[in-house]
Symmetry: C3
Subunit: 140 residues, 3 copies
């Protein structure tokens, strides 16, 4: 079994949910000869996160942004960590609801995503800037 | 270290939370000679998900269904993705709250779940149909 | 590629969110000669969980506790699983929102966490007691 690891810096995305499946696939081209394996995508931040969801209709990603803004409201007077702006503490909470890590199986050298599955970057800050990912895959 | 991968198609479950620990264990019988390792269970869908929770009292699963229906309501007029019925967009959101992937350590050839831990299929659609899982394990 | 597995029993923490990065790092000292790899931290319970979030300001952890107590209220009369006290069923739900497992890449023998990332134990019970973790790492 081999191990492969590569860093990937994403350009700054606006606040919201964004498909990054193509960016991840490009990182995996050196291992497309693998028969089977696993890939982890890890985001090294606490106010952006990763999830897998519908890859076709852009309104799904808009509805994600709408929903999470309602579910994790800004300006709750009970927040104590509010020095970095009203979007900061909600961003931390959203990041933990989604998680910092995705694990995706590999089959025949490709991510074994379902037909409708895509990889989302979830940018929870108004100005999150570049985001650093670390991609680790193991397989044979 | 060996790598093992197997597809598993679950029969159609009704909307709700369902214990599938036995179905997963059956897939792992070829690797029960492993001393230690890891197993990933991945669901190739965006409106059903997986989680680990209490394996004994069925009312826990009923309370999960009750809670998530309140937390992610149907028929929010702000949803834009509503062509596939009122249960569709909430199903996508619930799927991301839970996640598409479980990772469970293996010890002495068995999933090292705690005493009260079981694997749930979370079926978020009214008629989700069969669900495809991909199980990948690595160990020795 | 090598596989490393170790059990870790955490002392009883009060209800809330607690940094345990140091405890996890101590378990990984036998593998600090690894160049690259992956580490899984798994909690064998259904009313406590794990997440990665901000490692510096304690008010972030206090805001997590405040937020999740609002988002998953106690004493909802619709709960059917209520024999073990008002904090029990909310604890199960919070545990699934966060998850039982963290996967963190390893680089140069250390967890490749971002600058601001720390590992949280999320104790959702009033008196959760000791919590058992199983740490599994693989790498080279």
């Amino acid at each position: 079994m081999e191990l492969y690891q590569q860093q990937l810096t994403l350009r700054a995305f606006p606040r919201g949910f964004h498909l990054i499946t193509d960016e991840i696939n490009r990182c995996l081209s050196p291992i497309q000869h693998w028969n089977s394996g696993i890939c982890q995508v890890f985001i090294q931040h606490t106010s952006a996160s990763l999830t897998i969801n519908e890859n076709a209709d852009p309104t799904v990603r808009q509805d994600f942004e709408m929903y999470f803004n309602k579910a994790v409201p800004e300006n709750d007077p009970d927040y104590r960590h509010d020095d970095e702006g009203p979007d900061d503490m909600p961003a931390h909470i959203k990041a933990s609801l989604m998680g910092a890590s995705l694990i995706i199986p590999i089959r025949n050298g490709r991510l074994a995503l379902g037909t409708w599955q895509g990889i989302y970057l979830c940018e929870h800050r108004n100005r999150g800037g570049n985001r650093k990912l670390l991609i680790t895959a193991w397989g044979q």
